[in-house]
């Protein structure tokens, strides 16, 4: 048997010799074409029977030089590229980027635009968590929840379509405001959706949370101690599932998040179950935020005055927002020209993914998909 | 009616095939399989006698059941031994496992 060619990262212990394999020590290549790697992630698993003794994630199959492209476009032109980062939460990506540019320019955004941003970002969080819940159910063999979640997500996408004309890559946020105001009756539609959506959450509970088989699959699996989570700079639901109450919307409030009342779901059992519950509760909290924002929504302008060609003063900025997956950071250096001198994305999914091998050691193959599902990666963001 | 000798000779052939296999195969699992063949051959004789000697009150079949039960226990233990061998020697070829030889 010839040895297969594969790049082996320096410092890893996985050595690939296929000639001598038995079930006692076997290497399984999971992905990039695998139903549960959520895209083109590739995991090299070292198995002892069904138990995983080592795991190396290989990323980069979706790399498209996002950051280099960003340095060759002007500030406004980068917005559509950010859509493609986390294509399941494009609104949040837009949000983070325009916030960074606005901080760089020292630009104040009209209040109505700020509220619109929060409403859309929280709806986006609901949509993103719905996809996560559906695919997580699928990973564990429950197909029905997938369809249920997609039904609700379609409704969110309808709302987004009514606002922006797009269903996936919205490019709706603008530097200094929003592209357009909400269309007529949109606010009523949104309220109607929220009223419809709230009773759906107990339905998901009945199908997933309260199901003993599901609980057995996720409890005590993929343990991520708080210390390890902090060491790896994990963020978002990963961190909150490890018992650390850290949410940028609360700990480093941006936009108008300090004006809303919402709970921070934190669970400290550090397993897949905790991360599941965090995301599950976050959907309810997002509904609360959207409701408050709709109630407080002020009238007025939606776009600040910005020059035709945006030339931020020379300097640097790091703006971070809480995307559905965790801390999304945009780091920009301006040299006063219309294009960013340096543009860097701190992508939450990539950082969270790096903890995966820690969580997988000693797990079964079946747990692998559960743990990976609980990380909630989007390869567009991981690979950039 | 098929003569009893047919069954007995078939059983004898099967048994000897098993003996040959048990003596010649290198793989421990294959040796085990040959032994299972031998046990089956014996069972075949038992059942044949039970059919042709009704005055024995189906003793042959009863014994065949015992043989099957013991074969199951034997297989389980033997396979555990094979696994243990494999862990220690990284092979299950019995002629390579010769630590006790000098």
């Amino acid at each position: 048997m010839s040895e297969i060619h594969m790049p082996i990262p320096v410092g890893t212990t996985v050595v690939v010799e296929r000639t001598d394999e038995t079930m006692e020590e076997m290497y399984v290549n999971m992905g990039p074409q695998h139903p549960s790697t959520h895209g083109v992630l590739r995991l090299m698993l070292k198995l002892d029977g069904e138990y995983i003794t080592d795991c190396v994630p290989y990323v980069g199959y979706l790399h498209r030089c996002h950051e280099k492209i960003g340095e060759n476009r002007n500030y406004t032109q980068v917005i559509p590229y950010t859509d493609r980062l986390d294509y399941l939460a494009s609104m949040s990506m837009n949000f983070g980027y325009v916030l960074a540019v606005e901080r760089l320019m020292g630009l104040a955004v009209p209040p109505r635009a700020e509220y619109m941003r929060v409403i859309l970002a929280e709806l986006q969080r609901i949509a993103s968590h719905l996809i996560w819940l559906g695919t997580f159910g699928l990973d564990l063999g429950n197909f029905t929840i997938f369809i249920y979640c997609f039904r609700e997500r379609e409704m969110v996408l309808d709302l987004f379509e009514a606002v922006s004309g797009q269903r996936l890559n919205y490019s709706f946020y603008r530097i200094g405001g929003m592209a357009m105001d909400f269309p007529e009756t949109w606010i009523e539609d949104c309220r109607r959706f929220l009223e419809w959506f709230k009773p759906r959450l107990p339905e998901y509970d009945a199908l997933m949370t309260d199901n003993i088989l599901f609980q057995k699959r996720v409890q005590g699996v993929g343990i991520l101690p708080a210390r390890t989570a902090v060491d790896y700079a994990a963020s978002g639901p990963m961190l909150r599932g490890s018992g650390i109450a850290w949410d940028l919307r609360r700990n480093d409030p941006y936009s108008v998040y300090d004006r809303f009342e919402f709970d921070l779901p934190v669970y400290d059992s550090c397993d897949v179950w905790a991360r599941y519950l965090v995301r599950r509760q976050e959907m309810a909290q997002s509904v609360r935020i959207v409701e408050q924002a709709l109630a407080q929504l002020p009238a007025g302008e939606i776009q600040a005055k910005v020059p035709k060609t945006i030339k931020p003063p020379a300097g640097q900025v790091y703006a971070r927002t809480e995307s559905p997956r965790g801390e999304l950071g945009f780091y920009l250096i301006s040299d006063g020209s219309p294009k960013p001198y340096r543009y860097k994305v701190r992508s939450p999914a990539f950082v969270n993914l790096s903890v995966l091998p820690e969580m997988l050691k000693g797990c079964l193959v079946a747990d692998c998909v559960a743990v990976l599902g609980s990380v909630d990666i989007v390869l567009g963001e991981v690979d950039r | 009616m098929i003569p009893l000798s047919h069954y007995l000779i078939l059983s004898a052939i099967l048994f000897c095939v098993g003996v040959f296999g048990a003596l010649t195969r290198r793989n421990a699992v294959a040796i085990l399989m040959s032994i299972e063949l031998m046990l089956n051959a014996v069972n075949l004789s038992f059942v044949a006698f039970a059919r042709y000697l009704p005055q024995t009150q189906l003793q042959g079949q009863v014994f065949a059941i015992f043989v099957i039960a013991i074969a199951a226990a034997e297989a389980a233990v033997a396979l555990a031994i094979v696994l243990g061998l494999y862990r220690n020697f990284k092979t299950v070829n019995v002629d390579e496992i010769n630590l006790m030889k000098w």
């Binding site: 003993i212 409890q219 109450a245 669970y267 397993d271 | -």
Partner: protein, 396 residues
């Protein structure tokens, strides 16, 4: 059924009158029987595939197939079958060709052979073997051999993992399954499928309930159903082919016709286990019947029996499908734990209690006592298994 026997008699008289030897006659009868069974499996499997798609769709607020054939896409399975037949038959380069080709045949032959002793109606059975239920159990245990062969010969690690899982699962679940089946066998005092049904048709429980063994043997029935799910590799026990973990498990390298045979065998197996459960626990073809106008009582009974049997079987299959589209998949170690630590002790308890009741005589009180004891055990175990909730540290 008398009609059936009469038919065979008439055919025999006809052939002998033409001077055709008995061998030819026997072969012809056997061929017809096999043809009928194979035809039934093909049609039933196609129906089940379509039905499962409809059930899953309606559980998931969809419609499922709606186009092919007009009314609710009834011809979808036929179209899919034709598609699979016309697909390229691929054997992977590294595969062990002989075993690879043989594996689907073994699986299908196993599920086909089990149909021999299914009692379709009063007297309507291909061969009423006196070891009927044992035969069915042992023949269906052959299927796992085919699965292991498929998994190994594909030369794919996912399929090997699937095969290993399948082997472990089959070995574990066969034990409680057989022990659970012993309950009704002990009550009836026979292993023949036909006589098992007749015994149930004659008796009655507490004067009002039909004499089906599901009432005194509720626990055995539930254990059997769970084991049957595992035996058919259905969710929540479909770990040998878990698509989100092992892609497709043991049949990951199969395509076209060979895959179709695996698929067909899966649905044929579902019917087999439903038929076993119906025969042993739900009284088989036993049920209410009237004489149809213009037909002899025997024929009407036979037709009603056929309908009852089919109805009960498809009801059980519906439950299996319902479970599949509601539950999550269990993990391989949980599967083993559940079999050895829960099902096996329960089935042994059931066996002991049943034996005690059988020996003690047909006293209604004892039976009820047994049921209660067993139910208490079940509930106790189920309650004990409630999951622990994670601690919440939510802050307002």
């Amino acid at each position: 059924m008398m009609i059936f026997a009469d038919l065979v008699q008439a055919l025999y008289a006809f052939t002998t009158s033409w001077g055709i030897p008995y061998v030819v006659f026997a072969l012809v009868v056997m061929t017809i029987q096999v043809g009928v069974v194979v035809g039934y499996i093909a049609v039933a499997a196609m129906f089940l595939i379509w039905w499962e798609r409809k059930i899953s769709a309606h559980i998931q607020v969809r419609f499922g197939p709606m186009r092919v054939g007009g009314w609710h896409g009834w011809a979808q399975s036929i179209a899919d079958g034709i598609k699979l037949l016309l697909k390229e038959d691929i054997i992977p380069a590294g595969a062990d060709r002989v075993v690879f080709v043989l594996a689907p045949m073994v699986v299908f032959a196993a599920s086909l052979a089990a149909y021999v002793t299914i009692p379709w109606g009063p007297g309507l059975i291909v061969r009423d073997l006196n070891i009927g239920i044992l035969y069915m159990v042992s023949i269906s245990s052959l299927a796992v051999v085919g699965i292991v062969m498929a998994g190994w010969s594909s030369n794919n690690k996912y399929s090997v993992l699937g095969a290993i899982r399948s082997a472990a699962q089959a070995v574990s679940y066969e034990v409680p399954m057989v022990v659970a089946l012993l309950g009704p066998v002990m009550l009836a005092g026979t292993m023949s499928m036909g006589r098992l049904v007749e015994k149930q048709a004659q008796g009655s429980w507490l004067g009002i309930l039909p004499g089906w063994y599901v009432f005194p043997q509720l626990l055995a029935f539930l254990i059997y159903l769970i084991c049957a799910l595992a035996e058919c590799n259905r969710l929540p026990f479909d770990i040998p082919e878990a698509e989100s973990e092992l892609v497709a498990g043991f049949h990951v390298e199969y395509s076209g016709m060979r895959f179709a045979i695996f698929f067909l065998a899966e649905y044929a197996n579902m019917f087999t286990v439903a038929a076993i459960a119906t025969t042993l626990f739900l009284g088989g073809w036993d049920g209410w019947w009237v004489r149809l106008p213009g037909l002899s009582p025997e024929l009407s009974h036979g037709l009603f029996g056929l309908a009852w049997f089919q109805g009960k079987c498809y009801f059980l299959i519906f439950i299996m499908m319902w479970l599949r589209w509601t539950l999550a998949r269990v993990r391989v170690d949980q599967l083993m734990d559940f079999s050895w630590k829960v099902l096996l002790p329960l089935s042994f308890a059931n066996l002991v209690i049943t034996g005690w009741v059988v020996v003690a005589g047909p006293q209604g009180r004892l039976v009820v006592l047994g049921i209660l004891l067993v139910l208490a055990l079940t509930i106790g175990l189920a309650v004990r298994g409630r999951g622990r909730a994670a601690t919440v540290v939510a802050r307002g």
